[in-house]
C-alpha cells in the first residue's frame, strides 16, 4: 500500500482526532481509508478496508467512530490542526473519488445510493446521476435480489457493524461480474445509524484465474498421483524383476560385472561371492585383485581376453582358486560398452560357474577314453584271435592234410605192391583206411571253406541270380550224369550280393537237393521266388526224402546231419556255410520239409526287388 505510506509520510502531522463528517454531500469522505498506522494511533478513525478486515472485524462496532476531543490550550494550535485536517480531508476525498479499481460509495440507512465514485462508475457502468438515490438492490442479480440478499447484507452490517462477502453482481448493461463487497455501518456519536459505506471490487478475473489455477492444480495433483502410481508400479516391477534376476543368477551360478577401463575398478552384480567362494564384501574391486583369485595358469589368457574385449566380444573358460584352494571353472563372456556420456568405455560381461559341466565333460572324456581304450583292447584281442584263427586254419590247411595224404599214399602203395599177398580182409581194411582219410580230407576242406566264408570281405555287386543258378547246374553235370533230373528254374531277380558266395549257396543247396533226390525218378528240383508277408523269398525245393521238421533248426549247425552217412554222404558243413553266407548278407534262411515228401529251403536277401525285375537269363529245365 504505497499510497498509504506516502500519505502518512514522516513529515505529516498526525491528526490528533476528528469527528467523522456527517455531511450527506456527494463527495462525502469515504469511511474506508485503510491505514497501516492502526494500533499506533488509536485516536484516529480506522474504518475497515480490504487490507485491515481481520483486525477491524475483531473490533467492537462501538469503537469504530472514535471521537477524541481534548481541550487544547491555545486557539492557534487548534486552528493549525483544523487547517491540517481540512487539507487531509481534501486529499482523502480526492483519493476516494478517483480510485478506479474500487467502487466506493455510501448508502443511506435504507440502502439507497448516496455517493458514487469514479471506480463505481467504471465497475458498475452507472453514472452518479443515474444511480444516486436508487436502492443498491439493483446491483444484485434478480434471483439474489428477490431472495432478499441485499437487505440481509445491510442488516448484518447494521447489527455487527460490518458485512463482507463475495458474489455475482450485475452491471448496468446486465453483464455479471464477481464482486468482493464490504459494507460498514456509519454511526454518529450517539450510535445513530447514518448509513453504510460500501466498497466493491471486480474480482472476476482473479476469480477466474483462481478457478483456473485450482483446476490446473487439481489436474496437476491428479497427474502427480497418476505418475506416482505408475512409478510405484514400475518400481515394484523393477524390484520384482531384480529379485527374479538375482534368484536366476544365483540358480544359474551367474554373476555379471562392469569393469571401468580407466580406473580398472570392477563392480559385481549378482552372486559373485558364491562364484569366488568369498565372503560378501571381500569381492575383488579391481582387475588386479580379480586376477589374484585366478589360477596362475589362466591369468594370462584372462588378461588377454579382457584386453581383447575392448575391440570384440570375447569368451574364455578359466579357473579361480577359492580360499579352500579348490579350483572352480568359470566361463566368461564379455564385451566393451560405451558409457552413456560417451566418454568412458567399460567392459561388461558375465561369469558363469561351469565347474559341474567341466566335471561332467571330464567324466565324459574319461569315459570316452576308457571306452576307446577298451575298444582298442577288444580290437587287439579280436585281431589276435583272428590271427590265431588264421594261423590255425593255415595249419589245418597245411599240416592236417599232410598226414592224411601220407596215410592214403602208403595204404595205396601197400595195396599195389603187396595186394596179391594180402587176404581179402586186409585189403578191405586198407580200403577203409583210404575211405576214412578221404572223408577226413573233405571235412578239412569244408571246414576251411566255412572259415573262409566268415573271414572273407564281401563284394556286393548286382548279380543275376538266374544266371548264377544256371551256371551252378552246369557245374553239377558230373553228379547228374545218368540221372533223370527235372530242373525247374523260375526267372530270378538281379540282387546286389557277393556272387562268389551266392554261387556257393546255390551249389550247396542244389547238390544237397540232388543228393537227397537220388531215390527219385525223376528228381524234381525247383528254384524260384514267392512273396511272403510283403517280402520276396527265394527257394530251392525238391521231391527228395525230406527230413523230420522237428530237427529243422539243427540243419544249419556245423557237422549237423539228419541222415546216416551210409545213406547220404556228407560232412554236415554245407548248410552251415549257406547259413553263414545268407546271414552275412543280412538275410534269413529256413527250411520246411516232411519225411518222404521233399524239402524246401527258403532264404531272403535284403534289397531283393519285387516281382517283375528278373535278370536277362530266362529260366528253364536243364
Amino acid at each position: 500500500m504505497e499510497w498509504v505510506k506516502r500519505l502518512f509520510s514522516p513529515g505529516a502531522v498526525p491528526p490528533r482526532g476528528f469527528h467523522f463528517p456527517q455531511s450527506s454531500d456527494n463527495a462525502c469522505p469515504a469511511p474506508a481509508v485503510p491505514s497501516p498506522m492502526a494500533g499506533r494511533a488509536p485516536d484516529v478513525a480506522q474504518p475497515p478496508g480490504p487490507e485491515t478486515e481481520d483486525r477491524e472485524q475483531r473490533r467492537h462496532p462501538a469503537q469504530m467512530p472514535i471521537l477524541a476531543s481534548e481541550a487544547q490550550a491555545g486557539a492557534t494550535a487548534q486552528r493549525d490542526v483544523r487547517e491540517a485536517l481540512h487539507v487531509s480531508e481534501e486529499i482523502n476525498r480526492h483519493l476516494i473519488q478517483t480510485a478506479r479499481d474500487f467502487a466506493i460509495l455510501r448508502l443511506d440507512p435504507q440502502g439507497r445510493v448516496a455517493s458514487w465514485n469514479d471506480g463505481a462508475q467504471l465497475i458498475k457502468g452507472y453514472s452518479a446521476e443515474e444511480i444516486i438515490g436508487r436502492h443498491f438492490r439493483c446491483f444484485y442479480p434478480a434471483d439474489d435480489a428477490a431472495a432478499g440478499m441485499p437487505e440481509r447484507a445491510l442488516a448484518q452490517a447494521a447489527a455487527s457493524g460490518r458485512y463482507a462477502g463475495e458474489g455475482w453482481r450485475v452491471r448496468k448493461d446486465g453483464t455479471r461480474f464477481w464482486a468482493s463487497v464490504v459494507l460498514a455501518a456509519l454511526r454518529d456519536e450517539q450510535g445513530k445509524l447514518l448509513g453504510f459505506s460500501k466498497i466493491t471490487r471486480d474480482r472476476t478475473e482473479s476469480r477466474e484465474a483462481e478457478l483456473a489455477l485450482r483446476q490446473s492444480r487439481d489436474e496437476l495433483e491428479a497427474r502427480i498421483a497418476g505418475r506416482t502410481a505408475d512409478l510405484s508400479a514400475a518400481v515394484r516391477v523393477l524390484k520384482e524383476s531384480q529379485q527374479h534376476l538375482s534368484l536366476a543368477q544365483r540358480a544359474g551360478r551367474i554373476c555379471t560385472f562392469v569393469c571401468s577401463l580407466s580406473s580398472g575398478r570392477v563392480t559385481w552384480v549378482g552372486d559373485a561371492a558364491m562364484l569366488f567362494g568369498l565372503a560378501e564384501g571381500t569381492l575383488p574391486a579391481t582387475v588386479a585383485e580379480w586376477q589374484r583369485l585366478v589360477h596362475p595358469e589362466d591369468r594370462e589368457p584372462l588378461e588377454e581376453a579382457i584386453s581383447r574385449a575392448v575391440h570384440t566380444p570375447v569368451q574364455i573358460s578359466y579357473r579361480v582358486l577359492r580360499p579352500d584352494r579348490s579350483a572352480h571353472w568359470l566361463f566368461l563372456r564379455a564385451q566393451a560398452h560405451a558409457a552413456e556420456d560417451g566418454r568412458e568405455t567399460r567392459i561388461l560381461g558375465v561369469n558363469v560357474d561351469i565347474t559341474e559341466r567341466m566335471r561332467a565333460e571330464d567324466e565324459v572324456r574319461a569315459l570316452n577314453a576308457e571306452l576307446e581304450r577298451r575298444v582298442a583292447e577288444r580290437t587287439a584281442q579280436l585281431e589276435t584271435a583272428n590271427r590265431d584263427l588264421q594261423s590255425f586254419t593255415y595249419s589245418v590247411s597245411h599240416d592236417l592234410r599232410a598226414p592224411l595224404r601220407h596215410i592214403d599214399g602208403f595204404a595205396k602203395i601197400l595195396l599195389e605192391d603187396c595186394g596179391p599177398q594180402l587176404d581179402p580182409a586186409a585189403r578191405r581194411y586198407l580200403d577203409r583206411i583210404r575211405g576214412a582219410t578221404g572223408q577226413m580230407g573233405h571235412l578239412i576242406d569244408d571246414l576251411l571253406n566255412l572259415a573262409r566264408v566268415g573271414r572273407r570281405e564281401m563284394e556286393l555287386r548286382p548279380a543275376d541270380l538266374t544266371a548264377l543258378v544256371q551256371k551252378t547246374i552246369a557245374d553239377l553235370a558230373d553228379e547228374t550224369a545218368g540221372r533223370n533230373v527235372d530242373w525247374r528254374v523260375a526267372p530270378l531277380p538281379v540282387v546286389a550280393c557277393d556272387a562268389g558266395l551266392l554261387g556257393q549257396v546255390f551249389a550247396n543247396l542244389l547238390s544237397n537237393a540232388l543228393k537227397f533226390t537220388r531215390p527219385r525218378d525223376p528228381a524234381v528240383i525247383e528254384v524260384g521266388r514267392e512273396l511272403r508277408g510283403g517280402e520276396t523269398v527265394l527257394f530251392v525245393q525238391d521231391n527228395g526224402v525230406g527230413f523230420d521238421p522237428r530237427y529243422a533248426d539243427k540243419l544249419f549247425g556245423v557237422f549237423q546231419r539228419l541222415h546216416p552217412q551210409e545213406e547220404f554222404e556228407g560232412t554236415g558243413v554245407g548248410l552251415a556255410i549257406v547259413h553263414r553266407v545268407i546271414r552275412n548278407h543280412g538275410g534269413r534262411i529256413w527250411a520246411e520239409a516232411e519225411p518222404g515228401r521233399g524239402a524246401a529251403f527258403y532264404f531272403t536277401l535284403p534289397g531283393t526287388p519285387a516281382e517283375g525285375s528278373e535278370g536277362t537269363t530266362t529260366g528253364g529245365n536243364a
Binding site: Y394, S397, L404, R405, H406, G409, I413, G438, G441
Partner: protein, 156 residues
C-alpha cells in the same frame, strides 16, 4: 660234391612227402636226375651254388618243385629270391603244397610262380598230378636253354 646235372630240385622237408613224391615221379617214368633238399636255405644254397653247394657244377635245374612250409627260409622266401634274381628268374618253379590258402596262392603268383598245385589227399589223384607236372614241364613245355644262363661261379 657230385658233378651230375640236376634236372629236378625237390624242396620238401617232410620225408613221407619226399618218398611219396619220388615214388609218384618214378611210377610216371620221370627218370631225370632229382635232387632233394629239406629246407629253404639249402635250396637257395644249391641254386646259387654257395655253402655246401659252392663246388657244385654249373647249371640250373630244369624244374623246381617247391613246398611252401619249410624250415628256415619258407617257400615264399625261396620263390622271391629265385624270381628276384636275373640268374635264376627263368627257372620254372611249381609250388606243390598242402595248402590252398588264397593268400599263398595270390602271393606266389604275384612273385611269379609258374604253377601252383595243391597236393590231393587221394594218392591216385596225387600221382596223376605229378604225372601231369612231369609231362608238361619236362616234355611239353619249351624252356630257354638254362644251361646258357650264367650262374654264379666260384672265383678262379
Amino acid at each position: 660234391m657230385s658233378t651230375e646235372v640236376v634236372e629236378i630240385l625237390l624242396v620238401e622237408d617232410n620225408p613221407f612227402d619226399v618218398e611219396l613224391t619220388l615214388l609218384a615221379l618214378r611210377q610216371n617214368q620221370v627218370v631225370n636226375e632229382i635232387r632233394v633238399v629239406s629246407d629253404g636255405e639249402e635250396a637257395l644254397d644249391f641254386l646259387f651254388r654257395r655253402g655246401a653247394f659252392s663246388s657244385r657244377a654249373e647249371g640250373a635245374p630244369r624244374l623246381v618243385l617247391l613246398d611252401l612250409k619249410l624250415p628256415k627260409v619258407d617257400g615264399i622266401g625261396v620263390l622271391r629270391a629265385l624270381k628276384g634274381d636275373a640268374r635264376t628268374r627263368m627257372i620254372p618253379v611249381v609250388v606243390l603244397t598242402s595248402s590252398k590258402e588264397e593268400r599263398d596262392l595270390v602271393e606266389s603268383y604275384e612273385i611269379g610262380v609258374n604253377s601252383y598245385i595243391q597236393k590231393p589227399v587221394d594218392f591216385d589223384q596225387f600221382r596223376e598230378v605229378v604225372h601231369q607236372i612231369g609231362l608238361y614241364w619236362l616234355v611239353t613245355n619249351q624252356n630257354p636253354r638254362l644251361s646258357a644262363v650264367p650262374v654264379a661261379r666260384k672265383a678262379p
